[in-house]
Amino acid sequence: QSALTQPASVSGSPGQSITISCTGTSSDVGTYNLVSWYQQHPGKAPKLMIYEGSKRPSGISNRFAGSKSGNTASLAISGLQAEDEADYYCCSYAGSSLYVFGSGTKVTVL
């Protein structure tokens, strides 16, 4: 069960849009529409941003949007703000009550 693959870093200027990819396999991302995304600020616990691929929990800005194509899920952040600077992790259900996280992406707001 290998970690899902994410780019190590993504950056953008305030107001711009960025996209973070999360590549898995046909055993996890490709089979289940159960990818979630988490935001983690330094020294803090992760926070759920997207679940079931594209659904936002209550209170999460619609600037965050999730999608999936084949074995790759994506998180798009539009109207980038300074507060969006954080680490982002994807996570997928992998069958048999198992889960796998992505390698993590550091988002920098220039």
Partner: protein, 119 residues
């Protein structure tokens, strides 16, 4: 407010045993799976395993199977992560997280427990 509150930081020696806890409050604890997640210093999140408080059914990541055990005492709304013999490489932050109702995502997280293993 629904929350998970974890036990405090621990400093242990290699070979020692350890049990850390995660207490849920303001929700039906027995109805939601609890997972444990490791984060080594400067590294990413790793899913370790989970437990169903209603019947104590567990499943583990192959990477952690046999090295840790997860248990629960639903009478006091508390889940546990336990080691029988710690290694230096177990030094990390450990989070518990609640599986969202009817969805495979983790909606509530504990504040984390830092475990340091050093001789």
């Amino acid at each position: 407010e629904v929350q998970l509150v974890q036990s405090g930081a621990e400093v242990k020696k290699p070979g020692e045993s350890l049990k850390i806890s995660c207490k849920g409050s303001r929700y039906s604890f027995a109805s939601y799976w609890i997972s444990w997640v490791r984060q080594m210093p400067g590294k990413g999140l790793e899913w370790m395993g989970r437990i169903e408080p209603s019947d104590s059914y567990t499943s583990y990541s192959p990477s952690f199977q046999g090295h840790v055990s997860i248990s629960v005492d639903k009478s006091i709304n508390t889940a546990y992560l336990q080691w029988n013999s710690l290694e230096v490489s177990d030094s990390a932050m450990y989070y518990c997280a609640r599986r969202q109702w009817s969805s495979d995502a983790f909606d509530i997280w504990g504040q984390g427990t830092m475990v340091t293993v050093s001789s």
